[in-house]
C-alpha cells in the first residue's frame, strides 16, 4: 500500500478535538474560565486556547487558585505567559480565604484540600458557568468515566452515577443558573501525548520540569525540596540530588523524582521508559519507583 493520503497523526487528531471542545464552550457559555495551576497540563491547555482563537485573543480569563505555597519559577512563568497572551489573570487566594475565615488551615500545613472551597467561592463570585480543567482520563480510574463536559450542580458537586450520556462530538451545554460545567479538553490525552505535544510545539516549561540539582529530604521515599513552606523535621538530613518535577502543584506537597533528564527528548524517553521498567516490579531501581510512587500518590493511593 502506498503512503496513506489525508493522513492525520494521533497528535493532530487530539489537538483538533481539543480545539473543537474549546470553541464549543466559548460558543455556548457566557462566562468560561481556564483553570491554570502552572502544571504542564494547564500549560498545554493554554497553548490550545491560544491556537483555538488565533489570530484573536483568548476570549476568557485564566484563574489560578493560589495556595500561597508556590515554586517561584512557576509564578514567574504564569505572569510571563498571561502578559504574552494578553489575557486577564484572576488569582483566587487560599491565604486570603484563611485570613477571612472561609477555610481553616489543616494541621499538616497542606493546602490541597482547602483549595476546593476557595475555587467554588470564586466560581460564585465571578459567576463562571464553564471551567476548563487540565485533567486527563488516563490519570486515575474514576476519571476514566468522567465526561468531557462534566456537569456540576449548584454546590459544585460531581455525581458519577448520574452523568449525562455523551455521544459523538455533541456536547450538552445546557445548565440552570448556579450550575456549571467542568470541561476537560485533554480528556483523551495521556502523559506521553502531553510530552510529545510539548516537544512538537516547542512549548517552554518552568525549569523545574527538567533535571537540576536541588536540596531535598527523603520522606517515605519521596523527595521533597526544602523551602519556607516545608520546614525540616527533626532528625532529617537534607542532601543535594539531581531531580526534576514530574508534576507541579502546591510546593508543600509536590515531590521531585531523581532524574538526569535535562532536555525534552530525555524527559520523553524517561516517561516512556518509566512505564516499561515499572513492569520490572520488585527489582525496579530507585529512580523508577519514585516516579511511580508519585503517580500513585496522584491517583490517590494514600
Amino acid at each position: 500500500m502506498s503512503r496513506a493520503p489525508y493522513r492525520v497523526s494521533h497528535l493532530d487528531a487530539l489537538e483538533a478535538e481539543s480545539l473543537f471542545i474549546m470553541r464549543e464552550v466559548v460558543a455556548e457559555f457566557e462566562r468560561p474560565v481556564l483553570l491554570f495551576s502552572g502544571g504542564k497540563d494547564s500549560i498545554v491547555m493554554l497553548r490550545l486556547a491560544e491556537k483555538a482563537f488565533a489570530p484573536g485573543r483568548i476570549p476568557f480569563p485564566v484563574m489560578h487558585v493560589d495556595t500561597g505555597h508556590n515554586f517561584p519559577e512557576v509564578l514567574a512563568y504564569r505572569d510571563r505567559r498571561v502578559s504574552e497572551l494578553n489575557v486577564q489573570l484572576i488569582v483566587a487566594s487560599v491565604q486570603e480565604a484563611i485570613d477571612s475565615g472561609l477555610v481553616r488551615e489543616s494541621g499538616d500545613g497542606m493546602r490541597n484540600r482547602i483549595q476546593t472551597p476557595v475555587l467554588l467561592d470564586a466560581v460564585e463570585k465571578y459567576r463562571f458557568d464553564a471551567l476548563f480543567g487540565g485533567a486527563r482520563r488516563d490519570e486515575e480510574k474514576a476519571r476514566a468515566k468522567e465526561r468531557v463536559f462534566s456537569f456540576r450542580d449548584d454546590f459544585g458537586q460531581w455525581d458519577p452515577r448520574n452523568q449525562r450520556p455523551e455521544l459523538w462530538a455533541l456536547y450538552n451545554a445546557r445548565i440552570a443558573p448556579g450550575e456549571s460545567i467542568r470541561v476537560f479538553p485533554l480528556s483523551n490525552w495521556t502523559e506521553l501525548d502531553v510530552w510529545h505535544y510539548i516537544a512538537r510545539e516547542g512549548i517552554d516549561l518552568p525549569d523545574i520540569y527538567y533535571a537540576h540539582d536541588r536540596e531535598v529530604v527523603d520522606r517515605n521515599g519521596m523527595l521533597y525540596a526544602i523551602n519556607e513552606y516545608l520546614p525540616l523535621k527533626s532528625g532529617e538530613q537534607p542532601f543535594v540530588e539531581r531531580v526534576r518535577y514530574r508534576t507541579v502543584g502546591d510546593a508543600s506537597c509536590t515531590a521531585a523524582v531523581r532524574s538526569d533528564a535535562d532536555t525534552i527528548d530525555k524527559v520523553i524517553d524517561e516517561v516512556a521508559a518509566t512505564r516499561i521498567t515499572e513492569r520490572g516490579a520488585t527489582r525496579g531501581d530507585d529512580k523508577v519507583s519514585e516516579a511511580a510512587m508519585e503517580d500513585r500518590k496522584r491517583e490517590g493511593y494514600f
Partner: protein, 429 residues
C-alpha cells in the same frame, strides 16, 4: 511555524478508537487488562494490588476486571455500570478504548461508546457460541455504523482449541452479520486468559491463518472510513478579533465533518444558499492548502455574507438536505420519562440547536429479535424505534449511514437539561 521534533515513537502513529461490549463472563475485562498490560499501559504495582484483591476474594485467577472497573461502587458490586475510556499505544497506533457494559439494561452506554468508534470488538464464549447478547451487540454496532467489527471467539482453551467449534461460530455470525449490512467483519479465535492470538499468533491453533488481535487492531485500514467526498463544514464559531492589527479579520472556525476543502473552491453556505469562494484555510500554525476530517480549521471566504454558528459550508452541487421533517432511529436514554408522541424536546445537531416535536412513532424495535412493533406508543429507557420529528428551524442534515457527523443528533429534555436520546437520521425531507 513551530519546529517539528519527532521521536521514533510518534512518527508513524495514528489514532484508532474502538468499543468493547460484554460482561465479565465473556472475558472482556481479562482481554482489555491483557492489552493494557502487554502494551505497558498499566503499572506492575496496580497489577499486584489487583492480584492481592483477587486472592482475598478467593478468585481462581487474577480478576483483571478490577483494573477496569473504576468507580468505587463498581468495584464493590463487581459490575460495570458506565462507559470507561482506556488508553494504550503501540509504535504504530494510539488506541482509545470505550469499554461498555454488555447487559441489555446498559444499551444506552453501549450506544454511547459505539458512537465514536472506528471499530467494535464483540466477544463470545466458545463453549456457548452466539447468544442473544452477541446479536444485540452486532445490531447496535451496525445501527451506529461502526465501520469495522471484530468477533473474538474467546476461551478457545476450554474447547481444546477446536477448529470445528470456531468455524461453526464464525459461520453463524457471518451469516447473521450479512443481514445487518455489517461492514468489514473479522473473526479471531482467542484465549484472553492464556494470551492466545492476542499479541502474536498462537501455536495452539496452527489451523488459524488470520492475524492476531493486536496485529489486526494495528493494521486495520481506517483512513478511508472517513467520508472524503461530501464537503460539510458546520460553522462552530466566528473569529472576529477586536484588534487593530487584524481589524477586518473574519474567519469561520470549525471541524471538517467530511470532504476535502481547498482555497479557491466554490462553496455554498446553508441555510441561506449564498455562494462564494474559499480564500484561505488557516490554523494557528499557518495556511493550509487543503483541509479534511477531523481537522479543526478556520475558513475565510471571498464575500462578506452573514454567517453564524450553526450554518454549514458545502459545495453548490453537493449539499445536505435543509429539512424540518426528520425521520430517525432513536435510542432512548432517560429512565425517568419515556419518549411519547406529541412531546417537545430540544435537539443538538452538529453545531445547531433546535426544538422538535415528536410527530409519530412508526415502530419500536426489539433489539434482540429485530421484530418491529408498530403498535408501540412510546420508547422507554434503552428502547429503540423509528420516529418522525418536526423541528422549529431547518436542520442541515444527511442520512446517518452516509455521514455520522451530519446524520447524528442528541435529544435534550428542556426541563431537566439532561441528554435523553440519540438519533440517527434515516430521511430528511
Amino acid at each position: 511555524m513551530t519546529a517539528v521534533v519527532e521521536t521514533p515513537a510518534q512518527r508513524q502513529m495514528d489514532l484508532l478508537r474502538f468499543a468493547t461490549a460484554g460482561s465479565v463472563d465473556d472475558g472482556k475485562s481479562t482481554l482489555i487488562g491483557r492489552l493494557l498490560y502487554d502494551s505497558k499501559a498499566i503499572f506492575e504495582d496496580q497489577l499486584e494490588a489487583v492480584e492481592a484483591t483477587s486472592r482475598s476474594r478467593g478468585d481462581e485467577y487474577t480478576n483483571l476486571a478490577l483494573l477496569t472497573d473504576g468507580l468505587r461502587a463498581e468495584r464493590e458490586q463487581g459490575i460495570t455500570i458506565d462507559v470507561a475510556y482506556r488508553y494504550f499505544a503501540t509504535p504504530r497506533r494510539k488506541f482509545i478504548i470505550a469499554d461498555t457494559p454488555g447487559h441489555i439494561q446498559y444499551t444506552r452506554n453501549m450506544v454511547t461508546g459505539a458512537s465514536t468508534a472506528d471499530l467494535a470488538l464483540i466477544l463470545v464464549d466458545a463453549r456457548k457460541g452466539l447468544v442473544e447478547q452477541s446479536r444485540r451487540h452486532a445490531f447496535l454496532c451496525s445501527l451506529l455504523r461502526v465501520p469495522h467489527l471484530v468477533l473474538c471467539v474467546n476461551k478457545m482453551d476450554l474447547v481444546d482449541y477446536s477448529q470445528e467449534v470456531f468455524d461453526r461460530i464464525a459461520d453463524e455470525f457471518t451469516s447473521f452479520a450479512a443481514k445487518l449490512e455489517a461492514p468489514d467483519l473479522t473473526v479471531i479465535p482467542i484465549s484472553a486468559l492464556h494470551g492466545d492470538n492476542l499479541v502474536s499468533r498462537s501455536e495452539n491453533m496452527p489451523w488459524y491463518e488470520g492475524p492476531s488481535l493486536l496485529h489486526h487492531l494495528e493494521h486495520v485500514h481506517i483512513a478511508s472510513d472517513r467520508n472524503l467526498v461530501d464537503v460539510r463544514f458546520p460553522v462552530q464559531y466566528v473569529i472576529r478579533p477586536q484588534s487593530t492589527t487584524v481589524a477586518d479579520y473574519r474567519g469561520y472556525a470549525g471541524q471538517v465533518a467530511s470532504g476535502i476543502m481547498k482555497p479557491g473552491d466554490e462553496v455554498m453556505v446553508l441555510p441561506s444558499g449564498f455562494t462564494t469562494k474559499i480564500t484561505n484555510i488557516e490554523t494557528a500554525d499557518g495556511e493550509l492548502q487543503e483541509a479534511y476530517p477531523p481537522m479543526s480549521v478556520t475558513i475565510r471566504l471571498a464575500d462578506e455574507i452573514d454567517i453564524a454558528r450553526g450554518d454549514l459550508i458545502c459545495r453548490p452541487n453537493n449539499a445536505p438536505a435543509v429539512a424540518q421533517d426528520i425521520e430517525a432511529m432513536i435510542c432512548w436514554m432517560d429512565e425517568t420519562r419515556p419518549l411519547t408522541v406529541g412531546a417537545k424536546y430540544s435537539i443538538k445537531h452538529t453545531t445547531r440547536s433546535a426544538r422538535a416535536v415528536v410527530r409519530g412513532l412508526q415502530y419500536r424495535l426489539d433489539v434482540n429479535t429485530l421484530h418491529r412493533d408498530d403498535s408501540a406508543t412510546s420508547l422507554a429507557l434503552n428502547e429503540i424505534g423509528r420516529v418522525k420529528l418536526r423541528t422549529t428551524v431547518p436542520l442541515l442534515a444527511d442520512e446517518y449511514r452516509r455521514n455520522r457527523t451530519t446524520g447524528g443528533f442528541i435529544i435534550i429534555d428542556e426541563s431537566s437539561n439532561r441528554t435523553v436520546g440519540a438519533g440517527m437520521i434515516i430521511e430528511a425531507g
